[in-house]
Assembly symmetry: C2
Homo-oligomer: 206 residues x 2
């Protein structure tokens, strides 16, 4: 696969994948870029260009096979693998993510949740016993973990990210309200819930 | 303000705003588009084009005034107003959002939280008593609410959105894992937490 796929295309992939899940659930077998365009609110030629970045999966005039396209898209996104995930921070966000339905189905298995608060360590959240963050180094030596979700307060996010990376974690999903930086070769997604709230405020005032 | 500002520009505005908050907190008064470019990872000419969409706030060679730019950006986004917000659904996500620090500071005041579950109605979450969804119509007649956050299960999201809109709500922040459709003139932001997880999986496999 080319390394030159733009960030903008990559950001659209999950939308395609979600859309394909929906039409497949409706029993649709074949889909045209023009129907996708109407239903997804994207330009049809952009859809064709995007899908061509990944080799193209359609034939001119025949449309795309929904099942095949979805399967290829899952493969491109890496959703045909399973991932072991830990959550750092057993506060509200950590709790909500632990209970978020769908992760298991999608192949993201939360194995454990950690906190630094003595009042939380050892308590049960969604059937998981909260583990002591002091045991993280040993835990990561003994367990092969793919991803960590950072749900700590803002001020601890970067130091915990640094520690996770030094312990071999290669992917970080950061929910603390600050961007964390990681070295090249480590994947990070900083989630900014407030960004979409700001866009909503913008739209509300138009 | 022009109606022709592209979606892509609008989506970048919260990033600019967050960035300006950070540099202002560091005591920076003036900032160049080239420094913004380096620190934000955006193209400098794109930054200048984006800011020009809103009239431009800088002088060639002198950089932008951080305070003025941030204030203008807040105004454009509508963050210089206050919003009254209700949450529909007192499950994990609703609970996490109710406790999410920063909303009050940013001008989004959650006034009340609703649920349909008799087991939750009347209980206390983060200092708010969970209200009965059956009382929603009357509540919205008696209270001027700007925004609703939908945190219900997927299958109830569209019907609750329809009800909210019919009761005069003009902005919906939807966390249910399905897109809700609203009529023209109503603002909606569908949050897809899993999208950034999928992008993370993609990056992890590069």
């Amino acid at each position: 696969m080319s390394e030159k796929i733009s960030q903008a295309v990559i950001r659209r992939l999950p939308r395609y994948y979600r859309y394909l899940e929906e039409v497949e659930a409706k029993g649709v077998d074949k889909i045209s870029s023009s129907r996708m365009s109407t239903e997804m609110g994207l330009n049809a030629s952009q859809i064709r260009r995007d899908l061509n970045c990944f080799g193209g999966f359609g034939q001119q005039g025949y449309g795309y096979s929904v099942g095949k396209l979805k399967k290829e898209m899952a493969h491109i996104l890496g959703l045909d693998k399973r991932y072991k995930v830990i959550i750092i921070g057993a506060g509200r966000i950590g709790h909500a993510l632990l209970g978020y339905k769908g992760f298991m189905l999608e192949g993201f298995d939360v194995t454990d949740i950690f906190d630094a608060d003595k009042g939380k360590i050892g308590t049960d959240i969604e059937g998981k016993k909260v583990l002591d963050i002091n045991g993280l180094d040993r835990y990561l030596q003994e367990n092969a973990i793919d991803l960590a979700m950072i749900c700590t307060p803002k001020e601890h996010a970067q130091s915990i990210a640094d520690r996770l990376v030094s312990l071999g974690i290669r992917g970080i999903w950061n929910f603390a309200p600050t961007d964390v930086d990681v070295r090249r070769g480590v994947a990070v997604e900083n989630v900014h819930l407030s960004d979409s709230l700001y866009v909503l405020a913008y739209k509300l005032n138009q």
